[in-house]
Symmetry: C2
Subunit: 231 residues, 2 copies
């Protein structure tokens, strides 16, 4: 066990020296009125682990983070945002500088179409809310990215993981996608561990057993290091 | 300043010896699917400060808390819940034992009527969601409470604070209501300070300047101590 931990620790050693990593993490928060919002269960742990592992591997790291209760990893530049719109704007500003973009944030894909200026009063028994699609950050990044930039996305699924992940990879012009079945115990939202499979355009690249998120992050960073060298 | 801090520290001293306090805190989280939810910006700080101040004043404290990133105050029994429904059930179980019930939680008043079992796929440009009213915990507690029990509620308002607070106090059978204008800087959600006014059925009881939430909590606990003595 010590050997495997040590191997893991050194897996990503030096893999990103001289590289710039732009990493997103956490949920976004989409307001309905001054006190209410829509969000999701992302804890930010996977994105923060990736930021720590990328830094450890020698990268200069910019972490664009939604609201989470985590401290920024040492040596990482954190930019805090709330909504999908803020996250998109921030990512696009930093995109040209990045060698690798890792989109680990769980960006809201819908937000209330109308945001109320005052707190809504509780009156009607039912309330109908229209949600509209948010900006698709991954799609926009996929469109703008240069051939020398590597785009890594995430897919949190509850069913048909492989099919949904490969479809997302293709649609959004990603180079790699990290998929996890968030309905499994020990995977995904809020958990300290994760169970992931990584795919590229040719199919499955690696499938990892349940591991701590920092160990998962090191494996992903090692793989990114290899892919950047091939670029 | 030291004098006023000391006065404040001792304001609630012994005020709740031999009493049982049931305190709710934090937001509730209402699921839309396995990963998405509706919630609000309550940080739980005011409710946790009240739990700490009540314990400091000698009470046996049960804290029913929605998801927050705060540690339970020393000596306080914390019960963690997620949805409005779970909060209601937990509060009603502990209600008969309580001398004072302080409802500082920001309970969701609406929740998605239909909860999807699988993660919703992003497809339609717009999505209509029907929200239904949640159980009105304060109203139910107001109905069930005995004359020897004191019910203290909160009102977070963004306009017409006094009118809304007095109307809520009346409607829900509360003995005291703590109102704050969450649109003011230094008041309400997420802030370490608060600016509150306390009302009873006769009108304004006290109006406090901006203070740390623990100081606000001590003033409220001192007032509750006086009211319980009068009961």
């Amino acid at each position: 066990e010590i050997v495997s931990w040590v191997e893991n620790f050194f897996a990503a050693r030096g893999a990103l020296v001289g590289k710039k990593a732009l990493i997103t993490a956490g949920p976004t928060v989409e307001p309905l009125d001054p006190v209410r919002f829509f969000s999701n269960y992302s804890s930010g742990k996977m994105g923060y682990a990736l930021a720590a592992a990328a830094r450890e591997a020698g990268a200069e790291v910019t972490l664009v983070s939604g609201p989470v209760s985590l401290d920024a990893p040492a040596g990482v530049t954190r930019i805090e945002v709330k909504s999908a719109e803020e996250m998109k704007n921030t990512v696009l500003v930093h995109l040209p500088d990045a060698d690798v973009i890792i989109k680990a944030a769980a960006v809201a894909d819908y937000r209330p179409k109308h945001v109320f200026k005052q707190k809504m009063k509780k009156s009607a028994d039912e309330l109908t809310i229209v949600l509209e699609k948010t900006e698709d950050i991954a799609l926009e990044v996929g469109r703008r990215k240069r051939p020398d930039q590597l785009l890594v996305g995430f897919a949190a699924e509850t069913e048909e993981m492989e099919r949904h992940a490969l479809s997302k990879l293709e649609r959004k012009g990603m180079d790699l996608i990290v998929a996890n079945d968030v309905s499994k115990p020990g995977a995904g939202f809020g958990s300290d561990t994760n169970i992931v499979s990584v795919y590229d355009r040719e199919g499955l690249v690696i499938s990892l057993p349940r591991m701590n998120k920092i160990e998962v992050a090191r494996q992903i960073i090692a793989l990114i290091g290899e892919r950047l060298d091939e670029h």
